[in-house]
């Protein structure tokens, strides 16, 4: 299953709920303001680090760059482009968007 999160973890609890309800082996793609969840140094870093062993976590590169965050992505998070976004959707049988 692919989970997509587009909200900042510092403004909404979408990413927190996603990490709580995603089962091991799932993929989580962070897009738009969701990419702030993939960044080093903030208070959400611990929660994401704790989820990393069980989940495959991706962040959309263009959204990181737009926000000036491309150079501080957490180790273990894979950065994908729009083509990678399409591949993730195609590879997974279902998808949950945490609006």
């Amino acid at each position: 299953m692919l989970h997509i999160v587009n909200k900042s973890p510092y403004e909404r609890n979408a990413l927190e709920s996603c990490l709580r309800l995603a089962i091991n082996g799932s993929a989580v793609l962070l897009i738009e303001d969701g990419v702030y969840g993939a960044v080093k140094g903030g208070s959400f870093e611990g929660a994401l680090q704790a989820a990393l062993p069980g989940l495959k976590i991706y962040a959309l590169g263009p959204d990181l760059s737009a926000r000036g965050m491309a150079d501080r992505v957490l180790d273990g998070v894979s950065v994908v482009d729009y083509g990678g976004f399409v591949d993730l959707v195609a590879e997974h049988s279902n998808c949950q968007s945490w609006l």
Binding site: N6, K7, S8, Y10, E11, E32, D33, Y36, V39, K40, G41, G42, S43, E45, G61, P62, D63, S65, A66, R67, G68, M69, A70, D71, D81
Partner: protein
């Protein structure tokens, strides 16, 4: 004639306006709209300041590059505010800390206020406008 009417004759009453920015850029339209209203307000010769709280601190992050996004990068506009006599940019310390940001991460010079100082600054305004 009241004091206020006297002031009007001398070119209008000057009020303290604070624009309160609490949204990250690009994900929603609030940050860009807020910035445009701030620029418009410069034409009215008021005492204008901007506050950056919560995800609003992300608006000031250095190194924004929106080429791949196909949206306008409006972050250079914050550097132009000085030219419109908008020089009071206040950032809440706690909002920076929780997001792992320091003043070195910002594209403009700001005044960092802790929450108590920010609260006092907000309380002394005549008008607060939220984005």
């Amino acid at each position: 004639m009241s004091d206020q009417e006297m002031d009007m004759e001398e070119g209008g009453v000057v009020k303290q306006f604070m624009f309160v920015n609490r949204k990250a850029p690009y994900g929603t339209i609030y940050a860009l709209e807020g910035l445009e209203v701030v620029l418009i307000s410069a034409a009215f010769e008021q005492d204008v300041s901007m506050a950056f709280i919560d995800d609003g601190v992300y608006e000031l992050k250095k190194g924004q590059d929106t080429k791949a996004l196909g949206q306008k990068n409006f972050s250079p506009t914050y550097r132009a505010l000085e030219g419109y006599d908008i020089e009071k940019l206040y950032v809440e310390k706690e909002s920076m800390a929780v997001r792992g940001l320091t003043v070195e991460d910002f594209a403009v010079d700001v005044t960092v206020l802790d929450h108590a100082e920010m609260a006092a600054k907000m309380a002394e305004q005549d008008v607060l406008i939220s984005f």
